[in-house]
């Protein structure tokens, strides 16, 4: 086991210079964006928020048909009811998200200096519940995904605005996320980047791989696949639910939703799409 760890870390060190793991987030963002805008030179920058449909015409037509009356509207409605329903103490979520009118989602995740950790939207939702004497919600689907969908919907049109404060602590979170993105994992020995950076637009079996640029702007998502697996047809899921799915698909053990690892990944991943317009929730296959 130790040997494996040594090899992995050696590999990471090898990859690190190639992937440009020098702690300069702004330069990282430039390189990241350039990779995609050069690879898909006919795709307008803002269109990357549409995920795989920005680079695949055939599936885009089907997606546009879904967007004509997307099933996620059912769950945005449910989220709206939850968001505005008073807690037992009479307060609502609005008490925790006072700037709701200016959009909420585009500022998440952020590094909370006092606490020394990254706070995601879903974490903030549960902390709001805790503060008001309510039980926490599960992080991957259900009510949490409905609330997240409603907030995403109300934040549409705002540009991604994740701030990377350059303190050693916040940089540690950023670097951890970046490492997760580029490091190979699982029995299939594949990284996030293998699929969604280097091979974006190419096929993996019958599927076309989505570009990582713009990934985070359309979350949470309603997946037809998730809907099919749900007795009620509820296909909504959060970003961390999808991360878990991705890790499983390369046959790696997924981390827990809202774990330090996934929050770090979300921090890096979302920062890479800064400046892209919020268009969540989305509908995916």
């Amino acid at each position: 086991m130790k040997k494996v760890a040594v090899i992995v870390s050696a590999l990471c060190m090898l990859i690190a210079p190639l992937a440009g793991i020098a702690a300069n987030p702004d330069q990282d963002l430039k390189n990241f964006r350039k990779h995609f805008t050069e690879k898909f030179s006919s795709v307008p920058l803002q269109d990357f928020t549409n995920g795989v449909y920005s680079v695949d015409k055939a599936s885009r037509e089907q997606w546009e048909a879904f967007e004509d009356f997307p099933p996620y509207e059912i769950f945005v409605d449910k989220g709206n009811v939850l968001f505005n329903k008073a807690f037992k103490n009479g307060k609502t979520y609005a008490s925790c998200f006072p700037k709701a009118k200016k959009g909420i989602k585009q500022n998440y995740p952020f590094f909370d200096k006092k606490r020394g950790e990254v706070v995601t939207l879903e974490l903030a939702i549960n902390e709001c519940r805790k503060k008001n004497g309510e039980k926490p919600l599960k992080y991957k689907k259900g009510k949490m995904a409905h609330l997240s969908a409603y907030i995403a919907y109300k934040s549409r049109g705002h540009k991604g605005n994740v701030k990377i404060t350059s303190t050693p602590e916040s940089m540690a979170w950023y670097d951890r996320g970046k490492k997760h993105f580029y490091a190979k994992r699982g029995q299939l020995n594949m990284s996030c980047a293998d699929c969604h950076y280097y091979n974006a637009g190419n096929k993996i079996r019958a599927d076309i791989l989505s570009p990582a640029l713009g990934h985070t702007s359309h979350f949470p998502v309603y997946r037809n696949k998730w809907s099919l697996a749900s007795a009620s047809g509820d296909g909504m899921g959060t970003l961390h639910r999808r991360y878990g799915g991705c890790n499983k698909q390369v046959r790696a053990k997924p981390f827990k939703a809202q774990s330090k690892e996934y929050r770090s990944l979300e921090y890096f991943h979302t920062f890479m799409s800064n400046g892209l317009t919020m268009n969540g929730p989305g509908i995916r296959k």
């Binding site: 795989v52 055939a58 599936s59 037509e61 089907q62 997606w63 048909a65 879904f66 699929c195 096929k203 993996i204 079996r205 019958a206 599927d207 791989l209 037809n224 696949k225 809907s227 099919l228 991705c246 698909q249 995916r284 296959k285």
Partner: protein
């Protein structure tokens, strides 16, 4: 004699209950006029399903039926489909999926003022023909298109 009397009582009792249900708004009057065609929906092949729904499976292929469906379905569980029938007097549009366990998927009946147009999303278990049957002026017309359903990699 006895049995007849019994069934008469049973029927009138049922009718009574039904009348109450209708007036209470529990059942729409439509349920009285046209019941859901169980046999047609239970049929396991396309011809039997068409016969079950219309009494005959003889259809004429028509170029006046436009069928919009993807070549390759992104997810067979949700395949967007749009049918436009330019046949004058289109009374109904039926959708059938040849390789589904029970092919008949839906019949849309055009009421007053309705155009020969319908759009919906359907489930396809595998690569299959999508068959559309249009009833107009008592005749049956059809069109079909193959939709491929693939097994996905990561996303599927």
């Amino acid at each position: 004699m006895n049995t007849k009397r019994r069934s008469f009582i049973k029927n009138s009792a049922a009718a009574g209950a039904f009348g109450v249900a209708v007036s209470a708004g529990l059942i729409t009057p439509r349920a009285v006029m046209a019941a859901w065609p169980k046999a047609a929906f239970a049929a396991t092949d396309v011809d039997a399903a068409i016969t079950g729904a219309f009494g005959s499976s003889a259809t004429t292929e028509s170029a006046d039926i436009a069928l919009k469906a993807p070549e390759i379905a992104e997810n067979g569980a949700v395949v967007p489909i749009t049918v436009t029938s330019k046949i004058a007097g289109t009374e109904s549009i039926s959708l059938l999926i040849s390789k589904n366990p029970t092919p008949l998927t839906a019949t849309f009946k055009m009421g007053e003022g309705a155009e020969g147009f319908v759009s919906t999303r359907v489930k396809m278990s595998k690569t299959s023909d999508l068959v559309v049957v249009v009833k107009a002026n008592g005749k049956l017309y059809s069109a079909k298109k193959e939709v491929k359903v693939t097994i996905g990699g990561c996303g599927g």
